[in-house]
């Protein structure tokens, strides 16, 4: 049992332990869950320090048989791609617990237990190296989120929760079909073995089979991302979910989809991925522009942030299907950025809801006078979200745009419109909410941050700056993993996407350097 196993097990143990505490002991329950999530986070730092750069491939591997027939392995490990997504999950879970500390008064025990179960699933999803195990964790994540939305959400929570569950379930059964099909071909669920089999030609897939498998995986992931036009569950789920739910949903769960695209769709089905790239890219661009335009006209802050997610995630998909080193690096970096900055936005909007009991932009005004610190932090987050240089999103968006430009310049033009629009809707919202006439209700009900809220926000702000200035902490591992994936996704089929050969080695790192120098 190595560190990674422990990181998966800890939240699971915490979950069971929490369930065993009598429900009257609310304080104890909160403390225990916080302790477990903090411990998990602290230990997860060991993954960063123990991660060996220059060794692409998995590290912290455990591989034992779980079920003998059909052979399903407990096979977990990390590479540069999963490393940071796992850190993101362990980093945000204590914050999710922190922001719910006072807000959740009803059925406290279940709420905090479910947050730990969610973390268990999330860490597992990113660590699983066996297709079956991946699917198991993928589904495990679904259950706590369903309850988080459905029990502790706002007015239309039930509709949102059921819609969320059914969308994801429809996608994942397709994925399950594809996984079983692959198993019957390959005789194993092992990710690496299947990849090798496909690359070496030991597993022969006809063209139509490959397309079918690709689409089955792709649709499952596209629903989760969510890619236009499969995004309709997302605004509902976000608006109705409690803050902690929105935070985990936006910051980490959406990344399961994009992670899946990078991890499975690209390397396992290289030909199909490239053949289908043109229309996927178009959908991504539509998502970027459409998400931004819809966000602009939202009267509800949370819905605005939700639609901005559709737009941001469009960037990620665009970067992935540009098939360039920079585009892919940018996409992965953007996954992390979006987790931090959109997560922070959801938290802040949640704080404001707790004070004012409204999410409507028109109910606010002059918040900057009433709560200057909250406004300052909100501004920093807003600027990060629209991609101001020296803050995190700039790096990711820049890399994506540059990578896309290498592949097809027309795409870049359309995608860049999204960046401009994001500045419009975010700043416009900021102006309406924080400046303007000080509304009476705001004046009396808008205290500034308390210590707990500071404790939740400071780590996020630090990360926004850190990721914007010193990309070297993150990019080398990511680049390494992406190089390997791009290498595996080279196919012999004629390409319809014009591709300049990606530059090996430090290209991505150099780009990251350029980015912050500019």
């Amino acid at each position: 049992m190595n560190l990674l196993d422990l990181l998966i097990a800890l939240p699971g143990i915490g979950f069971i332990l929490t369930l065993l505490i009598p429900r009257a002991q609310e304080k104890l329950i909160r403390t225990i869950t916080l302790a477990f999530s903090l411990l998990t986070f602290v230990l997860s730092i060991g993954l960063i320090t123990g991660y060996q750069t220059g060794q692409p491939g998995q590290q912290f591997v455990t591989d034992t048989v779980w079920i003998a027939n059909p052979e399903i392995h407990w096979h977990v490990g990390i590479d540069g791609l999963s490393l940071w997504l796992i850190i993101l999950s362990t980093f945000l879970t204590p914050i999710a617990i922190g922001i719910s500390w006072r807000y959740i008064k009803d059925r406290t025990k279940e709420f905090f237990a479910f947050l730990l179960l969610l973390e268990f699933g999330l860490v597992g999803v990113f660590a699983a190296w066996d297709l079956f195990l991946f699917y198991v964790f993928w589904e495990v994540v679904l259950v706590p989120m369903y309850f988080l939305i459905g029990i502790w959400g706002h007015d239309r929570r039930i509709y949102a929760a059921v819609k969320f569950f059914l969308y994801t379930m429809a996608g994942s059964v397709l994925m399950l079909t594809a996984i079983i099909f692959l198993y019957n071909r390959a005789g194993t669920f092992d990710y690496a073995a299947i990849l090798n089999g496909i690359a070496s030609g030991r597993i022969m897939l006809s063209h139509s089979e490959e397309t079918f498998l690709f689409l089955a995986f792709f649709i499952a992931f596209a629903i989760k991302v969510p890619l236009f036009p499969l995004h309709t569950w997302l605004p509902d789920a976000h608006v109705e979910a409690p803050s902690a739910g929105s935070l985990m949903l936006a910051s980490v769960m959406l990344k399961m989809g994009t992670y899946g695209l990078v991890r499975f769709c690209l390397p396992m089905f290289p030909t199909a991925a490239r053949e289908n790239a043109p229309w996927i890219v178009i959908l991504a661009i539509i998502g970027i522009v459409y998400g931004a335009l819809v966000a602009m006209v939202q009267p509800n802050m949370k819905k605005l942030v939700a639609y901005s997610s559709v737009s941001h995630l469009g960037f990620v998909v665009l970067g992935i299907f540009s098939f360039t080193q920079m585009g892919l690096d940018g996409a992965v970096y953007q996954m992390l950025n979006h987790g931090i900055s959109t997560g922070a936005l959801f938290i802040l909007v949640g704080f404001m809801y707790e004070r004012r009991h409204s999410l409507a932009i028109s109910d606010f005004g002059g918040v900057a006078t009433a709560a200057p610190w909250l406004s300052t932090i909100f501004l920093i987050t807003t600027l990060a979200s629209i991609g101001l240089p020296t803050l995190n999103n700039f790096v990711g968006e820049f890399l994506v745009l540059q990578g896309t430009a290498q592949a097809n310049f027309t795409w870049t033009i359309f995608a860049a419109i999204g960046v401009i629009l994001s500045a419009c809707y975010m700043l416009w919202m900021y102006q309406r909410v924080f400046f303007g006439e000080l509304v009476d209700e705001v004046k009396h009900h808008m205290p500034d941050f308390n210590a707990r809220e500071w404790a939740c926000m400071i780590p996020l702000v630090i990360m926004m700056v850190w990721m914007g200035i010193y990309t070297q902490t993150f990019l080398p591992a990511i680049t390494e993993a992406n190089l390997k994936i791009l290498d595996q996704s080279k196919s012999n089929a004629p390409l319809r996407v014009s591709l300049p050969g990606y530059r090996a080695g430090s290209a991505g790192a150099a780009a990251g350097g350029n980015a912050h120098a500019r």
Partner: protein, 487 residues
């Protein structure tokens, strides 16, 4: 060798479970007038002891595997698996019925006697190696269950259920019997392997048309018994009308046994003409899944919803039959075990909720159960997750194994449609979770009584089993795979 009519000791051991249960059932009937008034719970306890003894007997029979009584019965892994299963179902049914019989003031030996006889019939069915034994077992089981469905004589719904079940059931048995007669006419044997050998002999396929008709007739009879579409119409009415513990039993015990003979007949006797009947099963599987799931979407009555859901689940098992392979058979065995656990568990919550006279059967009556009785709600959640097919539950692995077998037999479209079906099914199971956890407690739940020990046991045991099958499925699956037909 002079014919000896005295059965050998091994032969007797091979029918140990049937013998034990028959004696126990008869004793219950005889002792009923003496003790029913004074010790109302006695017969329940006695039945559990008898069933546990029968489980031991099954293990004993397994130690002397082989054919018994001139090849009429065969004790193999397959039969043993199903014997254990129906006995376990029997134990859970008894546990689940204590409370019900107490509330209805209907604690008689008759109920338990009939239950034991039904299980005798099912044990005979699953070990039958001859169409005559199939028929005898089926009738023992059916007649007992016809009466059980109408157990509360004064209750109109019980009467309706029993009458419908009896009329349609005997009609279906007629089909089966007609099929048996035809196949005997063509092949001059009723032995399953005998029929296979005749059909396998090249150039000796006598009257192929007649064989097909016989197979089709038997398909009709068996599809009725497992409530596979398009012969499922009786299911919702009967499950809704029958006493809840009996409905739980009907949905699992007779169904598992009927599936056992379905597999045995079609994969042994009719194995040579498999390519002929496969499309039939294919269509029936798809229809069952689709009709069951879509009809369940709009149900307001819990028992009726579970009935439609059981039609859908029969469809999944039929997918495994359509795969016509050993892993398909093993998958079906695993699935039926998982299904029995989760379905009985769900029915137990219904029994608990319904109260006297089964007045509270609407889905809305579950409102707020999560708040008032978190443990009961958590158990139902486990069963529903398993019915949906969420990982780490038995239902998930069951589906997984079945669809894996289907893909291996190249039934890609059936797999895709089946899995999409299970996404549809998620909707109506989730509805129960929504009502239970997300609605404010209603009048029914506010006045609900605490779980009785019997119901508690009937909830916890299947829950443990569901997790066991979901986390270490290998234990059961390996046994199932070793015991598929032809081993």
């Amino acid at each position: 060798m002079p014919a000896s009519f005295a059965p050998s000791a091994d032969d007797l051991l091979r029918v140990a479970p049937e013998t034990i249960l028959t004696i126990a059932g008869t004793l219950v009937m005889i002792l009923d007038p003496l003790f029913a008034k004074r010790f109302p719970k006695l017969f329940g306890h006695f039945s559990i002891v008898a069933l546990l003894a029968a489980a031991l007997g099954t293990a004993g029979a397994y130690s002397v595997q082989g054919a018994a009584f001139s090849n009429l019965l065969i004790v193999d892994g397959f039969a043993t698996f199903f014997r254990f299963l129906v006995i376990a179902i029997g134990i859970l049914t008894v546990l689940a019925s204590y409370r019900y019989l107490d509330l209805e003031k209907a604690e008689t030996g008759e109920f338990h006697g009939l239950l034991l006889f039904a299980i005798v019939g099912q044990c005979v069915m699953v070990a039958a190696n001859d169409l005559m034994m199939v028929f005898i077992g089926l009738e023992i089981s059916s007649i007992a269950t016809y009466i059980l469905a109408g157990y509360l004589r004064a209750d109109r719904r019980n009467n309706e259920a029993a009458l419908k079940y009896f009329l349609l059931g005997s009609f279906a048995t007629g089909f089966l019997l007609y099929g048996i007669a035809l196949i005997y006419g063509v092949t001059a044997t009723t032995k399953l392997d005998g029929i296979r050998d005749v059909l396998n002999t090249p150039g000796n396929v006598p009257a192929f048309g007649m064989v097909s008709v016989a197979a089709a007739l038997m398909f009709v009879g068996l599809a009725f018994k497992v409530s596979g579409a398009p012969f499922q119409v009786w299911t919702p009415d009967v499950y809704q009308g029958a006493p809840a513990p009996v409905a739980a039993f009907l949905a699992t015990g007779p169904k598992a046994a009927a599936f056992a003979i379905f597999f045995r007949i079609f994969l042994t006797a009719f194995q040579p003409i498999a390519s002929g009947w496969e499309p039939l099963i294919w269509i029936s599987a798809l229809l069952s899944m689709t009709i069951g799931n879509f009809a369940a979407l709009t149900q307001q009555n819990l028992k009726r919803m579970l009935a439609y859901s059981s039609i859908a689940h029969a469809g999944y098992v039929l997918v495994a039959l359509a795969a016509r392979s050993e892993i398909g058979t093993a998958a079906a065995m695993f699935y039926l075990a998982a299904y029995a656990l989760m379905n009985i568990g769900a029915f137990v919550v219904v029994i608990h909720l319904a109260g006297k006279g089964e007045r509270h059967l609407r889905i809305d009556d579950l409102a707020g159960l999560g708040r008032r009785q978190p443990v009961t709600a958590a158990m139902l959640t486990i069963f529903l997750m398993s019915l949906i097919g969420v990982p780490l539950t038995g239902g998930f692995f069951g589906k997984f194994y079945i669809f894996r077998a289907a893909i291996e037999s190249n039934l890609i479209w059936l797999t895709v449609l089946g899995l999409l079906n299970s996404a549809v099914a998620a909707y109506y199971y989730l509805r129960l979770l929504v009502v239970m956890y997300m609605h404010e407690p209603g009048e029914v739940v506010n006045n609900i009584e605490p779980l009785t020990p019997g119901l508690r046991a009937a909830l916890i045991l299947p829950a443990i089993g569901t997790f066991f099958l979901g986390i270490v499925p290998g234990a059961i699956l390996n046994f199932a795979q070793r015991s598929t037909l032809g081993h």
